[in-house]
């Protein structure tokens, strides 16, 4: 591919290239402008409809309000806790399950695999799930996020596919040395899977952090909600836990959006390859 590019692009800069650059700029602007407006407005004490390059009246008031209002920082902390715990649980289940299902001559492996795959075809549905969780006293508890996201069959299968790519000779050698399945898992499999763990861990983290509907369905106690829920209620339903604004409502809303995307924005530039390889483990594997 690289070669053809060199050969193909040697020609002079033509009309087509000009159009191409123009399209590039337009597409990039369409994606960036709404996000940039949020960034600028979150630091701007006055709300305006225009796209600004920079805040006209810089302030940190929006962020200060979030940090100082219990109704806002509490959901934020809940989001962090559930995301961290949920990602660890999700990774544990996905790797354990993937590892066991990757054992080709394990008796009963197919039964276990079909049991998992069936859940991708049929599900009890929102209400039966709700009634089960109610029995387990998980309604109105933020741990519902950990329980429902802890098992992700799709990610488990991705892990299994990845583990199957590890040379069988490594397993055999360890088995001959008397290593137990658990020992092989921790000493050989996991250390070889850092990239897969990173990308699937990120998939779990993003899913749990971003979850809104689970919270909306299961949680009514404000102390147990997460930040996405709080944000959506604040911006769209006008349910603001602040009575007197130190800053304009617009500033607070935008600062709220920033808080909801900040952890991701910080990680994204450094971890972009892991964010993207997640799909490729699944899509490119033939």
């Amino acid at each position: 591919m690289a070669k053809s590019e060199v050969a193909g692009r040697k020609k002079k800069f033509g009309l087509f290239d000009a159009i191409n650059y123009l399209v590039f700029i337009i597409v990039a602007l369409i994606v960036v402008l709404p996000i940039w407006k949020v960034v600028v407005d979150s630091f701007n004490a006055v709300g305006v409809y225009k796209f600004l390059l920079w805040p006209t009246e810089p302030t940190l008031g929006g962020y200060k309000t979030i940090i100082e209002t219990q109704g806002l920082y509490r959901p934020f902390l809940n989001s962090i806790i559930t995301t961290v715990v949920g990602t660890l649980v999700g990774l544990a289940i996905a790797t354990l399950g993937g590892y066991v299902l990757a054992q080709e001559d394990l008796p009963g492996r197919n039964i276990l695999a079909y049991m998992l795959l069936f859940t991708m075809i049929f599900a009890g549905g929102m209400i039966p799930e709700y009634l089960v969780m109610k029995k387990l006293h998980l309604v109105n508890s933020m741990w519902i996020l950990v329980v429902t996201h802890g098992i992700n069959v799709y990610n488990l299968v991705l892990m299994k596919n990845f583990f199957e790519g590890i040379p069988a000779s490594l397993y055999e050698a360890a088995k001959i040395d008397g290593c137990s399945p658990m020992g092989i898992f921790f000493k050989i499999v996991l250390p070889l899977s850092k990239a897969a763990l990173a990308s699937i861990g990120l998939m779990f983290a993003v899913t749990i952090w971003n979850d809104y509907s689970t919270v909306k369905i299961y949680i009514t106690n404000p102390d147990q909600t997460n930040f996405q829920y709080k944000l959506r209620n604040m911006v769209m339903d006008g349910d603001t836990p602040v009575t007197s604004y130190a800053v304009s409502q617009n500033t607070l809303f935008n600062a709220g959006i920033m808080a909801a995307i900040l952890p991701f924005m910080i990680a994204y530039p450094f971890l972009q390859k892991y964010f993207v390889t997640g799909v490729n483990i699944g899509a490119v594997k033939e």
Binding site: L96, V100, G125, L136, S213, N250, I261
Partner: protein, 318 residues
């Protein structure tokens, strides 16, 4: 039949297979490791499946559930709102799928044609970004952009240009809700959708382009006769994979709809949600029945798409 008792080792010799009980015992470590997975699967996935039986009951938060046969299903098929939700689910999902796939293909072709590697990588980094934003965040951003207040960007600009005098309430307008919904989906998912197309384009044999060059083909002709045919299989794959998820549409609508636009926006899942949590005395049986309908149609779609996927590309999706 004697084959059953023997296995062929890597070196090709036949050895007697150990008895099953011994093999299970030898693998006990693996079974132990599977216990947490099994627990999660049973509690989170299989236990709720048993709850499907409530669709044959009249089940209120107070009192004992009463068996009513197919009453809930009869009520469901007689209810106009249910059919509206079913139709909306199909229309919104399929339109969204077609529009975002189309946009992804176009953008992929442009990215593929870009010679400047830095521009290429930068644009990819930028356009993947919205995929990772939550629906709550995306809804918040667009609600504010489309708002009729003084800070609503779109209305502000339209007024500046003299196109309108009164602000338009985009998200609570029956005619505009769907187009706005599609635009937001395109904004969010087009970039992410390009990944799979770009992977296909990277795999095109360079000799095809070279041969086209020798034949004197223009850039547009090369796109038309080399790039697009190479993408057609991937487009079909993407459509099949996503067709299986048509019934799942939920959160994107959930965060963006409002009572005014139920006609155009309500989908099965949001309908189930409102039937249950939007009423003081819900009949869990009825919502479960609607959920069962959704699960059966969804499951059938997965199986159909799995079959199509095996036919077209030799491997299934589940």
């Amino acid at each position: 039949m004697s084959k059953k008792k023997t296995i062929v080792t890597a070196s090709g010799e036949m050895v007697r297979k150990k008895p099953l009980s011994l093999r299970i015992w030898n693998n006990r470590g693996y079974y132990l490791m599977f216990i947490p997975v099994l627990l999660f699967i049973l509690v989170v996935k299989y236990w709720p499946m048993l709850g499907v039986r409530w669709s044959f009951y009249n089940y209120k938060p107070i009192g004992t559930p009463k068996f009513v046969g197919f009453d809930n299903f009869e009520k469901m098929f007689r209810t106009g709102d249910f059919w509206t939700a079913f139709k909306n689910t199909l229309v919104l999902s399929v339109m969204k799928l077609l529009l975002t796939t189309f946009a992804s293909v176009i953008v992929s072709v442009f990215i593929n044609e870009m010679g400047n590697l830095f521009a290429k990588k930068s644009l990819q980094t930028i356009i993947y970004l919205p995929h990772f934003l939550s629906w709550a965040v995306v809804a918040s951003i667009f609600t504010m952009l489309l708002s009729t207040s003084v800070t609503g960007t779109v209305n502000g600009i339209l007024k500046d240009w003299g196109l309108i005098t009164e602000g338009i309430n985009f998200l609570s307008d029956k005619k505009l809700w769907r187009p706005v919904f599609y635009v937001i989906n395109i904004w969010k998912e087009t970039g992410w959708g390009t990944i799979i197309f770009l992977a296909t384009l990277a795999g095109i044999n360079p000799e095809l382009y070279e041969a086209a060059d020798i034949d004197g083909a223009t850039r547009l002709q090369k796109i038309r006769f080399v790039t697009m045919p190479a993408l057609s299989n991937t487009i079909i794959t993407v459509l099949i994979l996503n067709l299986a998820k048509v019934m799942n549409m939920f959160e994107s609508v959930f965060v963006l709809y409002s009572p005014v636009v139920y006609d155009k926006a309500d989908v099965i899942s949001t309908y189930i949600y409102r039937q249950t949590f939007g009423s003081a005395m819900p009949n869990y049986g009825y919502s479960t029945a609607v959920g069962l309908f959704k699960a059966l149609v969804g499951g059938a779609l997965v199986l159909i798409c799995n079959y199509l996927s095996k036919k077209t590309r030799g491997r299934g999706i589940v």
